[in-house]
Amino acid sequence: MTGNVASVLQPAGPTSTLIAELSWVLIAGSAVVFLIVMAVLAWALVGNTGRALRGPRQSMALIVGGGVAFPAIVLSALLVYTTIRTTAATKPGVTGTIVNVNGHMWWWQVRYRDPAGGPDIALANEIHMPTNRVVTIGLTSADVIHSFWVPALAGKVDTVPGRVYQLHLEATAPGVYRGECAEFCGVQHTRMAFHVVVHEPAEYERWLTAQSMPAPIPTGAEASAGQAVFVRERCAACHTIRGLTGQAEAGPDLTHVGSRLFLAGGDTRTDAAGFARWVANTQHIKPGALMPEYQRLDAASLGALAAFLAQLK
């Protein structure tokens, strides 16, 4: 499993903690109201019937009391409480980092500004952030409507082509939190998982600096052979490797793909075995994905390519 926490009720940041608190209040409150109404129903069926509701006045009292006054009071209180908490949830803290997320069918393109002023850092299906700092995600889509959702950290925001929306994320503890696409977007809507990796601030800075570097030069014969396969098979038509290829937009950036947790929005690992399995079986693992399947690669080429990709850390 790509596992990791993805539950609304196991929050890992201030916003999701607030929403979880709200959720428990709503769950408890609804349970109480439900039991009250069922109790009234039971009383009406088998209790002190007829005698208690002798005339129209008592009946109207039940209707007005139960049907108007009781819900009006409860719902007004709920409205006040939730309005106060909602404004707290939508008040952004100090914003530091801005991350651009562009939804695609069926992967998430992620871009960071290089702190040293170099070209943008691009990766896919993974967002890294430091603890206790608000990260602003700028959300849009390249094709159809998707929805960006990390249950452990915040509510979801749709990514709509032609519009840019903002979502503020903040996490209180390091960890890996799973995200899903939450708006039906076609045949592989299910396989668009992404992860938010939360680091201590110093570790995050190290990660960002490492990501800003161009791709490492392959060491070893197999990895070098793999790079040649990458060039020969024209993978660069869709995939960018900074320092090796030009800029390509159609597929995820692979500059440091070996350092990511998973591949292709699913649960394939980024080791050599995982890369080999993915490249040779794309349409079996994720039928309908826009990447062709490379069954025709011989075992040696495939192995070399996989070794090359795995060392792109």
Binding site: M1, G67, L79, E180, F184
Partner: protein, 844 residues
């Protein structure tokens, strides 16, 4: 007409003349054998309609079982992702459009005339047409799943996913064209119900004495009239985008995907109340009968129904809380969504008070009512939860919502409908469903439902999004999904048992029912093909309880209209508020024309989907010809001017002008038309305000002068039609020629106006496929041209009526209705042109 009678005296005296009953039976004789397909009596059409809806329930239910089979285990490969997407799209689409709305309309078609004391609905052939179009179209639409050619974009069909670029097959077109015209069926039903409820109630059945189900259907029919046009407009726009590239929803060319969401949910939210309120109305009928006491809080319930209906139109944006609407707007909608719980709670407590006052007898129906209380209240509470913004931001588009919607729809509609089937089966053929089986069926359905859908609250909170074809092992979702799948199977078992019992019961020989639950309302009077023997004069909400001899009196022919005056089918028209007898309504008999027109309409739209233009046109022409022939048979001068409907009481036969029920039906149709138009105007405003400039770069407004000339010609055309409607209708030949020429002149002016307007836009280089603004302008122009064509057809029909001498003082509905439609069309032209020409000035 003199309705005054001394208190206590019944309208008609005994003995009844010889042959009166026989003549009544003859007039209402149903066709035999395969000719039953030409029946138009609401009791026949109603049964077909209910049966077909239940068939779609079963078919869509099987699709639901397929979904649960696929999701029972993690990483399952039972269904491919592509096919799974078709399965869940069809499950939702068939359930919502081919089962949920049709079944509540079907029950109304069957039951409402009887409840109101009417012999039939006011436009029998219209309901027959609506049914056949729905049945043929729906079945053909469902069959797409057998060819894996179904739509796969979700029942809500969001673009850009459903645009031609990302859904290149014809699946989406099946939805747009196939479901699109079924909406017309629903609207036809709504018009029928409004007119029936307001104009054909039994004498003495004031609005305050009307059965609550009638109030519910009145509210629901009005909601259909105002909500369905939005989705008709949306589907038209999306189909034009797919077929011709008019970029309403394409952001790269100035369109906006959110435009679809606004149009769809403006329909979609009222839609769920359109589904729930009739069920609530049925509950309000069954609870007092089974609790053996009059309903407590009649006025509170009616107020609740009207309030829910009204406020439901303000809530559509709560389906878009994560789509990027402003926080202020979202908070307003959130508060309104909380507030709508109040009128529903009022109804719930009125039912609880009724149960407390009375003593519920346990029957199959009351078991399902208890199940309704449990499940629906639960679903209503999760509805309150998701109305809270931050909570919705987490659970929107997850299985929590799937749980919520099934609790309110199955709890709030399916359970009351099953209760209704148990409760009113004796009215159908005198037989009752098995009370013994009912306990098992209820047990399986109730337990199965909760086992299936309660765990979905949990899987949603654990992070499971909607519309996923599988989930990973080790996520903690396995146990909840497995439980849901087992529950679904249990629920299905209950439904299967019910179907066996239903078929068994329905096939038994019909007998007289003896009002087994001692119901107090008119549908429990002895019923026949002609409805009731005489239309009762009533004085209370529960006439059978207050007037114990009513059934005997009605059967003996002591009340109104105990026979047939013209030899054909008739019912009484009474005044909308106080139900005073106004005139006699002559109804049409059985006919093949609605059957042909319905099938022809279905075939036209379905063949358009597969782009077989020639054959499609052929069927369209057949449908149109059938409709014209059918219309030609209407609006005839009655054979006698007055009719004796009670001792010494003579009513006019038929009515003209604004007293004609067909005029009011046309008015409602005009409201539908204007609402579709308003949706297109909204689309134009929405797209215009999204752009950087209006008109956008490269587009030009049509020349103002030409538009003004065109508008003036339309106004002149309307004036001529107004003159024609003021014409004194006589028989003189020359008068008729002049009259016809006025109509032709009005048409010529209108066509000239349309030509000038179209020319002005063409001269300005209107290119609908270039950008969203141009597309919406073109849509408004196309809508006007469509009206011009319809008016041409109407004018030709009217001229034919004038020339044949059929237009007279007592048969002038064609003229009055065409005039009404004409003026409404011209109004749309003026508003449309005004908005397009003036908006750029307002925006700069």
């Amino acid at each position: 007409m003199t309705p005054a009678k001394s208190a206590g005296a019944l309208p008609n005296s005994l003995p009844r003349p010889d042959g009166e009953l026989a003549a009544l039976e003859r007039a209402w004789q149903p066709p035999r054998g395969w000719r039953l397909l030409s029946a138009v009596n609401n009791t026949r059409i109603g049964v077909f309609y209910i049966g077909t809806s239940l068939l779609f329930f079963v078919l869509a239910g099987v699709l639901g079982l397929l979904i649960r089979a696929q999701l029972a285990l993690p990483e399952n490969h039972l269904l491919s992702p592509a096919f799974y997407n078709q399965v869940f799209t069809m499950h939702g689409t068939v359930m919502m459009f081919l089962f949920a709305v049709p079944i509540v309309e079907a029950i109304a078609v069957y039951l409402l005339p009887a409840m109101l004391g009417a012999r039939d609905l006011p436009f029998p052939r219209l309901s027959a047409y609506a049914f056949w179009a729905y049945a043929a179209g729906g079945l053909a639409f469902f069959c797409t799943i057998f060819f894996a050619a179904s739509p796969d974009g979700g029942w809500f069909m969001y673009p850009p996913l459903t645009s031609g670029e990302y859904s290149p097959g014809i699946g989406a077109d099946w939805w747009l064209l196939g479901i699109g015209f079924i909406e017309i069926s629903a609207i036809a039903g709504a018009i029928e119900l409004i007119i029936g409820i307001l104009f054909t109630r039994a004498p003495g059945m004031t609005l305050g004495r009307m059965p609550i189900f009638a109030w519910a259907m009145l509210v629901v029919a009005a909601m259909i009239v105002l909500a369905f046009p939005a989705v008709i407009a949306g589907t038209t726009l999306l189909e034009l985008e797919r077929a011709f590239g008019w970029p309403f929803f394409n952001p790269r060319l100035g369109g906006d995907p959110l435009l679809w969401q606004h149009l769809f949910w403006f329909f979609g939210h009222p839609d769920v109340y359109i589904i729930f309120l009739p069920a609530a109305g049925l509950v309000s009928m069954m609870v007092p009968t089974l609790a053996r006491t009059p309903i407590v809080g009649y006025r509170a319930i009616v107020l609740g129904l009207v309030t829910v209906g009204f406020f439901s139109f303000a809530l559509w944006a709560h389906h878009m809380f994560t789509a990027g609407l402003g926080t202020l707007a979202a908070m307003f909608v959130s508060a309104a969504s909380l507030a709508v719980a109040l009128p529903t709670a009022m109804q719930v407590f009125a039912w609880l008070a009724t149960l407390a006052r009375g003593r519920l007898r346990i029957t199959g129906a009351s078991l399902f009512l208890l199940g309704f209380f449990f499940i629906f209240v639960f679903g209503g509470l999760t509805g309150v939860m998701v109305a809270v913004l931050p909570f919705d931001w987490q659970v929107h588009d997850t299985y929590f919502i799937v749980a919520h919607l099934h609790y309110v729809l199955i709890g709030g509609m399916v359970f009351p409908v099953f209760a209704a089937l148990y409760h009113w089966m004796p009215v159908v053929n005198g037989q009752g469903l098995s009370e013994a089986w009912a306990k098992w069926i209820f047990g399986l359905m109730f337990a199965g439902f909760n086992l299936a859908f309660f765990p979905m609250h949990i899987s949603g909170l654990l992070g499971m999004p909607r519309r996923v074809h599988t989930y990973d092992a080790g996520t903690g979702l396995e146990i909840w999904n497995l439980a849901s799948s087992v529950g679904a199977a249990v629920l299905a078992a209950g439904v299967v048992l019910f179907l066996i019992d239903a078929v068994r019961t329905w096939s038994r020989r019909p007998i007289e029912h003896a009002n087994p639950w001692n119901g107090g309302t008119l549908e429990w009077l002895p019923a026949h093909d002609y409805g009731v023997r005489s239309i009762p004069q009533i004085a209370s909400r529960d006439p059978l309880w207050e007037q114990p001899s009513l059934a005997a009196e009605v059967e003996a022919g002591r009340h109104w209209l105990p026979g047939t005056v013209t030899g054909g089918r008739e019912t009484l028209v009474t005044s909308p508020r106080r139900a005073l007898p106004m005139h006699l309504l002559v109804l049409t008999g059985d006919s093949w024309l609605p059957f042909g027109a319905g099938l022809g309409t279905a075939a036209f739209f379905l063949l358009l989907t597969v782009k077989m233009m020639g054959i499609a046109t052929l069927f369209g022409v057949i449908a149109l010809a059938a409709m014209l022939r059918w219309l030609w048979q209407t609006d005839r001068p009655p054979r006698q001017a007055t009719a004796e409907v009670a001792d010494g009481v003579f009513l006019d036969v038929g009515a003209a002008g604004t007293r004609s029920h067909s005029w009011w039906a046309t008015l409602i149709l005009v409201v539908v038309d204007l609402t579709i138009f308003a949706s297109f105007v909204f689309a134009h405003l929405h797209v215009s305000m999204r752009g950087d400039s209006c008109p956008p770069v490269g587009a030009r407004l049509a020349n103002d002068e030409a538009i003004v000339v065109s508008a003036a010609l339309w106004i002149a055309s309307s004036t001529l039609v107004w003159l024609a409607s003021r014409w004194r209708l006589g028989d003189a030949g020359r008068q008729r020629v002049l009259h016809a020429l006025v109509i032709v002149g009005a048409l010529a002016l209108g066509l000239g106006a349309a030509t000038i307007e179209w020319g002005a836009h063409a001269a300005a280089g209107l290119a609908p496929a270039r950008d969203g603004w141009s597309a919406t302008v073109a849509m408004l122009v196309a809508w006007q041209l469509f009206h011009a064509v319809v008016l041409a057809l109407m004018a030709a029909f009217l001229v034919a009526r004038i020339s044949s001498g059929l237009l007279g003082p007592r048969s002038r509905a064609t003229l009055d209705n065409v005039a009404l439609f004409w003026h409404a069309s011209v109004l749309q032209v003026l508003i449309g042109c005004g908005v397009v020409q003036l908006l750029p000035r307002l925006l700069t």
